[in-house]
Symmetry: D2
Subunit: 350 residues, 4 copies
């Protein structure tokens, strides 16, 4: 059994890591931390009766792997010690994602105190970097919008299929993505009948997406990204508008995507005939609800042949395939387990 710890257990990301590690057949959850160290059910009422409680971070014991669910800036402080004492580390946060420390420092407005660790930490998208992840000590788990956008655009970018300068992405997020910290914009009476734009320009995930897509394309890729909260809880949708260099067809697009993700268990290209029972206007696109609480990313495609635009719909759960679940997928790779161990949950409906 792999001994695992969760550092920072009170937030939604930490809570989800705890939940799926408790259900993982090859893992013993050794501990989860909270500075307040009070009853875990106050933070996560779903865990009432689940035989785990918080410990104070000062009381952690050695284990095989540590998941960090911490605010940005804290991981870089504690990772060096964790690594040097023999732990493998999955940073679910953002401290090691951006490979250029100067860029990181500009967008996070902090000095990076462990820049030497940035380089060795693979950007943890298994579908693109499986081999690097296998041998790593430290994983920079990707951002949620970034995961959806990179998985959604990789086939086109890798095939140099589209205009690199005009990639427009509207990222729509459920409120779980805003976190457990109270905030006026996420107060139920405020948001329940609203759509709340935030980080409309220069969203931090923009830089991750540009970095990873540029690497895939061997050329600079510019991403125009904006985000908004919608009043759902779990899951994000990246709507990506891109412009093919040449005219194409929906058939060709599906073919590119299906071959790119041919052997991947957790990325599904959503291709269904039109449902005869629904009206003309509803082709089946992937719905965020179907991936909530799972490690799946579903991708849908459409093409405007009058105006030569491709629309890519990429959905995942920000604390699922865009967070804690993909962290466990990375752990499985690092420990030579079957990649889907403990991650086979099928999404619920409705």
């Amino acid at each position: 059994m792999i001994k695992a710890g969760v550092y920072g257990g009170t937030g939604y990301m930490g809570g989800e890591a705890i939940r799926i590690l408790l259900e993982h057949p090859d893992v013993t959850l050794s501990w989860a931390t909270s500075r307040k160290a009070d009853n875990i059910s106050f933070s996560h009422p779903n865990l009432y009766g689940s035989a785990i409680d918080f410990i104070h971070p000062d009381d952690i014991t050695p284990c095989d792997i540590v998941f960090l669910a911490l605010p940005s800036g804290l991981p870089m402080e504690i990772v060096p010690d964790l690594i040097s004492s023999g732990h493998k580390v999955i940073d679910l946060g953002s401290d090691f994602r951006i490979k250029d420390p100067l860029v990181w420092e500009k967008i996070y407005n902090k000095t990076h105190i462990s820049p030497e660790l940035i380089k060795e930490a693979p950007y943890g998208i298994p579908e693109l970097r499986r081999e690097e992840i296998k041998g790593a000590r430290l994983i920079a788990n990707p951002g949620c919008f970034s995961s959806a956008a990179i998985l959604g655009l990789a086939p086109l970018i890798k095939n140099n299929f589209i205009d690199n300068e005009k990639i427009i992405i509207d990222g729509l997020s459920g409120t779980a993505g805003a976190g457990a910290m109270l905030h006026k914009s996420i107060h139920h009476p405020e948001i329940a009948n609203n759509i709340v734009p935030y980080n409309v320009t220069k969203h931090r995930h923009t830089y991750e997406i540009e970095q990873e897509l540029s690497l895939l394309n061997n050329n600079k890729v510019t991403v125009h990204f904006s985000s908004a909260y919608v009043p759902i809880v779990r899951g994000i949708l990246d709507i990506c508008h891109v412009f093919p260099k040449n005219r194409t067809s929906l058939e060709e697009l599906f073919s590119i995507y299906e071959s790119f993700y041919l052997n991947e268990k957790f990325v599904r290209i959503y291709r269904l005939p039109k449902d005869k029972n629904t009206s003309w206007q509803y082709k089946p696109y992937p719905w965020v609800s179907t991936v909530a609480g799972t490690n799946y990313c579903f991708i849908g495609l459409d093409y405007d042949d009058e105006r030569n635009r491709v629309v890519v719909y990429s959905v995942l759960d920000s604390i699922g395939k865009g967070g804690a679940h993909v962290g466990i997928q990375n752990m499985n790779i690092m420990f030579n387990l079957e990649e889907d161990t403990g991650l086979k949950r099928i999404g619920a409906h409705p």
Copy 2:
């Protein structure tokens, strides 16, 4: 491996049975039926890519157990054949719940064509009828509101603790409980900002609850039940107001409930100290979200010592512990599996 079939797979109850049978380690899902027999993803987009598709009911093959997720009136037509051809049957519907055929016929406004099977079918609440279920060929799986109410009140009724004549229950249901059939009251624009009362008197579940509680008490129990939809999707809450024969205390009440459900894995008495970080008004009561998609029933308690009233909050998922999941729990009992096999899911948060 147990070979299982799901009869009536297009609705929410059938879809949930399919989902958890697909994940059950000791079950092979042989088939799921739909008269239209089209792509299963049109009914359940979560199952896209899950290597199962509908068959027409005429094409079913023999298996060990069949789950029926059918409108009332259909099970009584097909169960005799299924039983006589050696199947065990879990009826997730209502055809065999009411033990007096005359009462059944009055409230369902139909003639019962298999009354001889009613008697042999245990009312499938494992916590109360485990031994009967073990040897049964046919289970009458309980109604959702009924499960919550019976589990919530059994400790008090069994102990003859309360006034049998004044049991008032407000059952609040998410819209999944209304089913997949389109209906004006469940149209999103209509209900999203609403609370929609329905079946305000003589709700069919009333008769199940009265029947089972009367059996437990050996005396007639009268239940005043009303229901309403609230704009959540999964889960129901039964708010039960009852009046103790003598003055009591919260401490005594918890003690009664905790000893009654001492060894039960799926019924949890929600007893937490008040969270110091929340305001005076929020004691922790169980939340429906914490049991959505699981086989858990959480029960909370309160007592008004000025007016000698007990309030019991009982939450479960209408297609979880109040439906398909408890059906699988019953199957586990019938096949001598560990009772929680395939049912260990912890609820999600948020």
Copy 3:
């Protein structure tokens, strides 16, 4: 023109008072206060561009009537000065509702510093106390659950029609009723898929309801009240279960209610034939959405003739007929305006 001020403008009650006073044809809104005195659009984005901004409470100027939207305990500090300087006052809070100061002090856990004003302040339900309101200097505007319950039960209580000891009320509230103050239970990810019980016993409104119903009946009335938040924003529903002294009929019940509220503009007894286009289970009951943002209370009725129970559904908006709007109705009465001036809004659908 009546000059009006709103004391405490940042919360939802204060914001609603501002909105409808701005639209009132016979009122000039002189000021609205906020200790922070910043841009009103931060508190109420709907008021962007509406030519009003907050002032500090120290800067208020004399006017004809002041609406108080303040936390409990503050009104009793400032009302004596406001009254003695010639203002009429509508307290939208709870300082003057409970007529026995000892009861008030017990349930609000404070010493009342203006007990002499309690007696002169009519409990502001116009349908029951129109004459007292006409001559008053100070109105104790009722609580939201209380308004719904008192209006919903007054016809039965006044007619001595039901058992005074077994009145059970489940009060369901939208989250606007929880206020603008951030709170974990109202954080969108927590409540969006939940029903959140709170104040399950000894809710402060219980005492108002008991006080007013006892006065109507000339006998002690006991109310068993519990409340819960549901994930809608505006509006409350009181589900009242009561037991007639003698058997009755739906026809008799409607007749009692319709004659009781015969000439009332803002209380509507919701009596519709069953919609032929909906299924058997949906009789038309009043929906909270139809009264959101208005001064209407809609009341629906049902009767279980098997068990002799009456169910009363009473809906209103907690900051509408249960708050700021009825405050303006009281103002209209005090200033001899047509009672519905500035209050004719029809609810929206959907």
Copy 4:
């Protein structure tokens, strides 16, 4: 008093027209039609007690102005008669919006039987075509997404400020925009936790937007539009991504918009300093809830100076400023009333 009729009263657009005409001080609502002609409260429970009921379309009587809230294809059948019998007509539908009949026939897949009326019917955006509207007999009221997009982009297009070829719009709609007709995608259990893309390419409103913006710019404008439903009820948000020909600044952008809409009562440029009380990530953008049920369009702006992209957020209510309310604004213009008569409602909060 203007005598008005509403043709097609059962849908949400018709219901909203009825509601605001009932409250309009200079209008008498003569009739509203429904083929079923049953109780209006079954369609619009908010109108219970409002002294209006449906009549059959065969029973209509002459009046001054008729509002059509009909499915596409019906208006062109009845408008010629209405016009020739002296009625003014506001078509809230789409039969007269597209000025090229061949384009209309292609996208609506019907033959247009009144092409001669298309030309005389101004596309009814008062802010752009006030003079034409004043003298018109027939108004082609704009589509909801179109209104938001055209108002949101007109200042930039008119000033020839941006690249005409790369205008990307994500239109997000509440479910009221899907209409009262039952549909699986709008069934509450399906959409409540979802974002539902539809009409992802070649949405019919695309052609209106391109037509009107091209006229404003005197050059061909290409619009890349996609739409999705989000689980709110009222209101739409158009997120418009555009690319300035030259680098610009937020200050310059606000200046362009504020001067363009200087004297307009119903278009507000949402420009607020950052709220000191919110975190770094929330600048104030306009929220759809603030315009629900009103005739306002709020516009927000942002600029990415690293990548030279402008983001325009345009919010309105699809049956408010994007539907029935702007229809009444057009009526006011046609009848020489103050343009805001009967339209002064301030949005609610929360």
